[in-house]
Structures are given as structure tokens and as C-alpha cells.
């Protein structure tokens, strides 16, 4: 749909992702063996013909720039539109790092106004889902909504999730920030919104002038009465990463073939940066079950219930259980890891045994040798 532009917030929840976002934005957090979170937002936009995109970054954005380059791997190296990346301090008026989405959007008002599109989709980048924005748009028009808020069903296990209360027609009457984690399946905001561009500009300018910073807290929560905000329940697999625990849980969930097929094929292909790795080599003695393995791995040991990113080496006699090993990892002979999230280029030397717990997976930071 060429009448919609997209805006992606590359940073969110970073403080809760601890070591995993020490060197990167949430958007460039690796997921599912060969992807980064932003691949889902970019691919969903491209598959819905939304090709004029702005990406707002706060810090640590070099890994993101390296991943996106000119956007060619998503077919976003366009003469018209394509990707514009906005680092902090992008405008003269930005005297400090933006303190929230309202300030961030205010700093790129010129970009938002410049495009010929009438509508805009705003999204966070901690979401793995395969979303067709054409359907969202149809629902937006059919409901006569001012704002369409994408929602999903989940247990609010980490706090600060926004639960929605809606009427029979699907209009949101209240947005409540959950303070106590609960195991009750609840409809929550995905932090993805569709609205008219001119409405967004009005809301952002008005709120900025009043000194407001937080889009959810200062515009949406108090706006339920005056704005027609409709919920759009997102279909299929939705993975939202709020902290290390949910990152681990969602990584394990995609081992389910039905959920994975849903994530990768529901509406269109999920694209990512091409790295030209060779196919993965299984050596005699390899033993691999219920695992996702990217290209370029060399496996001589045992891998169970795990995700291996590109170029991971598993030596003979090594065991990887219930773990995630990111690109370039090396698990040496006789080493045994379980409930581990090993960031890029981690080496676990021979005969070391390390493990976390399912409820508390242990993170080994980038480039470390254990």
C-alpha cells in the first residue's frame, strides 16, 4: 500500500535486555538463527508495499547500520522512499537525546510531512510476527478509526505491559499498565499503531508543546475518550521480547514447526542480510535433534533443543542443550552447555560445563572465552 509510510523505533526496553543490548539496539538483536528483530518490521512493511521508512535510533546503532546498509536485502534501496536512518541529535532543535517517542517524532517532523503518503504506521522493534498491513488498513477504514492499535494475547509476565479494555465493537476504552505479572491470558498492546499522518503531526506537536514525552502515557492512555482507538488483534505467531527471559522463551517457541512456518510464511517472506555462508556440515558422530541450525555451522557433537546461528562450531564430544549460540560461537571438545545464551563469537573451551536455568538462562557476553 503506497499510501502508508513506516516509522520504526529501533530502541526499546534495552535496559531490561541487559548484556544482550550492551553493544546493539533491540532492533539488531539476533533472533531465530539468522535474523535480527528489525528484519520482521522491514519485511512486513515491504511485503505490504510500504517502502518509505524512517528508523529512529538512540544509541549503539552501528550494528544496526551495518545490518541494514542501503536496505538492498529488503529491496529497499529505492530512488523514491527507501530507508532513512535517524540517529539522535538529528535536528538543530534536538539539544539533548530524545526523552521519548514524542520528542523523537517531533525531531523528524520534516521527514514525516515530506512524504506523499496520507497514513503512517509506527512500530517498536522488539516484535517477531508476520503482519499484513493491507488487512490492518482495511480494518482501520472499516471501523472509521482515528488510531488502530495492534494487539496480541499473552500473559503479562513482565511488568509495564499495556493491557487493553475494549467494547463490543473493538474500540479501546481503557489502556492499563499492568503492575503485577499475571498468568491470565490478556489482550495487550503490541506498540504498533496506524493513523493518518496529519493526525500524528497534530498530536505530536500539541504534546511536545505541553512538554509531554511519552506517546503511550501522554497521548494514547488519556486519549481513549477523545480519540477513536480500535484494537486490531494480530493473527498467528507473535513474539514480543521484553527481557532476557522472554527472549529465551520466544527463541525456544520457534522450534515448533507450525509456529515457525506461521512466522516465516503467513503473509510473505522474511528477508535478512545475506552473508553467503556455506551449507552446514554434519560430521560423523553428530547428533542433532529438535534444533534450528543456520548455514555455515560445523557440527561434530550433540545439539538438543537449541538454536545455532551462522558459523557455529560444535566439536566432537561437545554438548549443547536448551541453548542459543549466536554467530561464530565455538563449543570445544567435551564442553557441555545448557540454558545458555551465548552472544556472538563466544568460545567455550574444552571440558567446561556451564549452565543456567530455564527460568533464568545465563548470558555469555559477546567475544568472551569461557
Amino acid at each position: 500500500m503506497n499510501n502508508i509510510m513506516g516509522i520504526i523505533f529501533a530502541s526499546d526496553n534495552e535496559s531490561k535486555l541487559n548484556e544482550l543490548t550492551l553493544h546493539r539496539t533491540t532492533a539488531s538483536l539476533p533472533f531465530c538463527g539468522r535474523y535480527r528483530f528489525i528484519d520482521f518490521a522491514l519485511s512486513n512493511f515491504v511485503n505490504s508495499q510500504i517502502t518509505n521508512l524512517g528508523i529512529i535510533t538512540r544509541n549503539n546503532y552501528s550494528s544496526l547500520m551495518d545490518h541494514i546498509r542501503m536496505g538492498r536485502d529488503w529491496d529497499l534501496n529505492r530512488k523514491n522512499g527507501g530507508i532513512a536512518v535517524f540517529p539522535p541529535y538529528v535536528s538543530n532543535s534536538a539539544r539533548s537525546m530524545n526523552r521519548g517517542k514524542i520528542e523523537a517524532l517531533y525531531s523528524i517532523l520534516d521527514f514525516i510531512k515530506r512524504g506523499s503518503e496520507d497514513y503512517v504506521v509506527i512500530t517498536n522493534s522488539n516484535i517477531a510476527a508476520n503482519i499484513d498491513f493491507d488487512h490492518v488498513f482495511d480494518a482501520h477504514i472499516a471501523k472509521g478509526a482515528d488510531i488502530t492499535m495492534l494487539t496480541y494475547m499473552a500473559q503479562p509476565i513482565s511488568s509495564r505491559k499495556a493491557a487493553v479494555v475494549k467494547d463490543n465493537d473493538g474500540r479501546i476504552t481503557q489502556i492499563r499498565v499492568v503492575q503485577t505479572p499475571s498468568s491470565v491470558l490478556t489482550e495487550m498492546s503490541l506498540n504498533v499503531y496506524m493513523l493518518r499522518k496529519d493526525l500524528l503531526v497534530d498530536l505530536v506537536v500539541d504534546s511536545y508543546e505541553r512538554g509531554y514525552t511519552d506517546l503511550e502515557k501522554h497521548i494514547l492512555q488519556p486519549g481513549c475518550d477523545t480519540l477513536k482507538i480500535f484494537a486490531y488483534p494480530t493473527e498467528g505467531y507473535v513474539g514480543v521480547i521484553d527481557d532476557v527471559k522472554s527472549y529465551y522463551a520466544e527463541s525456544m517457541r520457534v522450534l515448533d514447526t507450525d509456529l515457525r512456518n506461521d512466522l516465516f510464511t503467513r503473509n510473505g517472506t522474511i528477508f535478512t542480510k545475506v552473508k553467503d555462508s556455506v551449507p552446514t556440515r554434519y560430521r560423523p558422530g553428530a547428533e542433532v535433534n529438535n534444533s534450528l541450525i543456520a548455514d555455515g555451522c560445523d557440527i561434530g557433537g550433540k545439539v538438543i533443543n537449541s538454536v545455532l546461528f551462522r558459523g557455529v562450531t560444535v566439536e566432537k564430544g561437545a554438548v549443547i542443550e536448551n541453548s542459543i549460540v549466536m554467530e561464530g560461537g565455538k563449543i570445544c571438545e567435551g564442553a557441555h552447555i545448557s540454558y545458555i545464551i551465548a552472544d556472538k563469537d563466544v568460545t567455550v573451551t574444552s571440558n567446561k560445563t556451564i549452565g543456567g536455568y530455564e527460568t533464568y538462562p545465563m548470558v555469555i557476553v559477546k567475544n568472551k572465552t569461557v
Binding site: 514447526t257 556455506v278 560423523p284 558422530g285
Partner: protein, 396 residues
């Protein structure tokens, strides 16, 4: 077209029908045939070119060119989408006076003299699109220049028994070629031509024009151009290549080259970041190995779902091996599916083919003198549930 001067232009002969690959090349040209899980044969010469610093390549196609054209596209996967140069697909075309299919390898280059002239190159590198190898053409070119040759031909040492299957270059001690024998019954040497030539463009241009004027000529490099140049006393040199090289023009050689990927002693190693082989990527998720899978000594590519037994095999992008299925010593090409309980041994399963539940393709064998009876299932063909394809049989 921006045609800044280029020192060397590569011309890749990709028009061969590949009849000895039978059903695998029924709908696609030989260079577009799948290899090694995620590659196509043409990825090797294209990647060699870019890794050797040659960024201007004409790809000569005429047989079933559609899949190949689409695959090459703008050349981006090989970093060949350039403002000046890049990759150009060159099918035969209508000219004002006459037009013709490419009659032979030399005629294919002859018909594209105007294309090459646009880049005013000093040298032209002629390559074929049916070999698996990694080679630094820049080194060959510098040898060519150092010797002041008119033509340099890459040769590889083969056994004396094999020599009668190749074009053999008989050379003096310093590598100068004094005689060329096509498939000699009694070979004098074991320098087999690899079908890779560097020519001084002005010389080659002259010989192509003369060859075209000769109505009796078969317009072929091996049969006409090289013997003519030798007869005229031009300086032809052999360039010795010692790495892995294989002509994959037959079912057995294609199968063997894939098996060589599994054998670390074969010399064919693609996991070398200093000389990457690039391929057009299909954006598939990582492969999934299920709870019942048993995999040994095999290559598995992204997008695969494996829940059966796979041993000594190459499983290509997006292929599926279901629970209880067994695949051994085989190549499963992209998107093919081996259903529950089926067995596949010593076979090539074409792209998109389906081996029905309980079907049996090929059989385990020990091979006589290294010769195996390889079964072939044509691309997109379905072997019915419980069906049988005998060892060495081909179904389409």
C-alpha cells in the same frame, strides 16, 4: 551503458544444452543446475571472476536461458551490479543483415565482438559454465603478460588413462604449447585443457573474423581457433593449475563433485572466507532438525526440514526428509521432498521432485572401480507412494 576501458573482459560460455545431464537440463541450461546445496554451477566462474578482480562479464546463453537469466539478474549476489561493467547476459540477437544461433564457441564470441570492443580490453578471458573449481584468474593473467603470450590456456594434470578424454596440450619445458591434440588415442602428455583461455583481444579478434569467413570451420575454440593460432606460430602457453577442478557435464561427475564436498581430502572446500562462492539467496529460515533425525557426514542447507536418516548426502535449500525416510549417498536438490518411509540411495533427486511414502529410489552399492549406477528423478517429478526407481534408472 557506461563502458569505461577495462583491462580484461570475461566471456562465459553458458549456452551448452547439457544433454548428458538428461532430465536435469530438460528445462534449464547446464550452468543453472543446482550444486552443493545452495549453489548453481555458474556461481563458480562468476565468483572466481569477482574474486580475481574481473568485474566485466558477458554470459553467452542460448539454450533454455530463462532460468539462467532470472538467476543472474542484475548480478547483485556476485557484487556485479556496477555502474561501469558488471554482468551482461548475451543471447543471440537479430542483426541488420543476418542473424544466427551461436554456431560454436568461437562464433558465440564472434557475434559479440561489438560488446567486447565497447570496453577496449587488452585481454579477453574465455570461460565455460560447467566446471566446479576455485581459481585466481588474475594469476593466470599475470603469467600471460609476463611471458608475452598471445594466448594462455589453463591445464590440469590428469592421469594418462583419463588423458584421452580431454584436449591435451603438449608443451616445451618453458610451458610453450607446440601441439594440441583433441582426445588423443595415445596421449603424449597429461596436460588437459580446462577450457579456460586468456587471449590478447586484438589477436583473438583477428582470428575470430578469419574463422567466421571460413565456411568449413566449425567455429570452435578447440577445433579451429587454437590449431589455427598454433599453425601460424603464435605464442601459446599452458598455465598449470593444481587445485580441485571437475567437469560436471555428466550425471556421474555431477554426483561425484557433490560427494567431494563431503570428503575433506578432496581439495574442494567451500568454507574458505578468503575465496567465497556467492549465490543468489532465497531468504529461507535456518534448517530444522527434528526429534527423530539422524544425520551423518552430510551438508544441510537453510530452509530444510529433516526428520529422517541422512548419511553421506547433500540436501539443498528448502528440501524435506520426513520421519522414517532414509537418504544415503545422494543429492536432494532444492525444494524436493522425500516422504515418510521412502528410501533414496545413490541418487540425484531433481528440484521440486517428490518421493512418495515408502517409495524406493536407487540402491546401496559398493561401486565397480569407482563407478556407480546413479538413479535420477527429474525435477518436479513425483514418484508415487510405494514406487520403485531402479539403480541407474532415470524417471521423468
Amino acid at each position: 551503458m557506461n563502458s569505461r576501458k577495462k583491462e580484461c573482459v570475461a566471456m562465459l560460455l553458458a549456452g551448452g544444452q547439457g544433454t548428458r545431464l538428461y532430465s536435469l537440463t530438460k528445462d534449464i541450461a547446464k550452468p543453472a543446475v543446482s550444486f552443493g546445496g545452495k549453489y548453481r554451477i555458474i556461481d563458480f566462474p562468476l565468483s572466481n571472476c569477482i574474486n580475481s578482480g574481473i568485474d566485466t562479464i558477458g554470459v553467452l546463453t542460448q539454450y533454455q536461458p530463462f532460468a539462467l537469466n532470472q538467476y543472474i539478474g542484475n548480478g547483485q549476489p556476485w557484487d556485479l551490479d556496477r555502474l561501469s561493467g558488471g554482468v551482461f547476459v548475451l543471447p543471440p540477437y537479430m542483426k541488420s543483415k543476418n542473424s544466427d544461433w551461436y554456431k560454436g564457441t568461437a562464433n558465440a564470441i564472434y557475434q559479440n565482438i561489438a560488446f567486447i570492443d565497447k570496453f577496449s580490453p587488452e585481454y579477453v578471458l574465455v570461460l565455460s559454465g560447467d566446471h566446479i573449481y576455485k581459481m585466481d584468474y588474475a594469476d593466470m593473467l599475470s603469467e600471460h603478460k609476463r611471458r608475452g603470450a598471445d594466448c594462455t590456456i589453463a591445464v590440469i594434470d590428469v592421469s594418462i588413462e583419463e588423458a584421452s578424454r580431454f584436449g591435451i596440450m603438449n608443451t616445451k619445458e618453458d610451458g610453450e604449447i607446440y601441439e594440441f591434440e583433441e582426445k588423443p588415442k595415445k596421449p603424449k602428455s597429461t596436460n588437459a585443457s580446462m577450457g579456460i583461455y586468456v587471449f590478447n583481444w586484438d589477436k583473438l579478434r583477428k582470428y575470430l573474423i578469419e574463422d567466421e569467413a571460413d565456411s568449413k570451420s566449425s567455429n570452435d575454440f578447440g577445433k579451429n581457433i587454437i590449431p589455427d593460432m598454433l599453425a601460424d606460430g603464435q605464442k601459446l602457453y599452458a598455465y598449470k593449475f593444481s587445485g580441485y577442478w571437475k567437469d560436471v557435464g555428466t550425471i556421474n561427475s555431477l554426483w561425484e563433485a557433490n560427494m567431494d564436498l563431503l570428503d575433506e581430502g578432496s581439495g574442494l572446500n567451500l568454507a574458505d572466507n578468503g575465496w567465497k562462492i556467492y549465490a543468489r539467496n532465497t531468504a529461507e529460515p535456518p534448517h530444522y532438525t527434528g526429534r527423530d533425525a539422524v544425520i551423518s557426514n552430510s551438508l544441510i542447507t537453510e530452509g530444510c526440514e529433516i526428520d529422517g536418516d541422512v548419511v553421506n548426502s547433500v540436501i539443498s535449500t528448502g528440501a524435506e526428509v520426513c520421519r522414517g525416510a532414509k537418504v544415503s549417498h545422494s543429492i536432494v536438490m532444492p525444494g524436493a521432498k522425500v516422504c515418510e518411509g521412502a528410501s533414496v540411495a545413490y541418487a540425484i533427486i531433481g528440484a521440486g521432485a517428490v518421493i512418495g511414502s515408502g517409495a524406493k529410489v536407487g540402491k546401496e552399492q559398493s561401486g565397480k572401480d569407482g563407478n556407480y549406477d546413479i538413479s535420477v528423478v527429474a525435477p518436479n517429478y513425483t514418484v508415487k507412494d510405494g514406487g520403485v526407481v531402479d539403480a541407474g534408472a532415470m524417471v521423468e
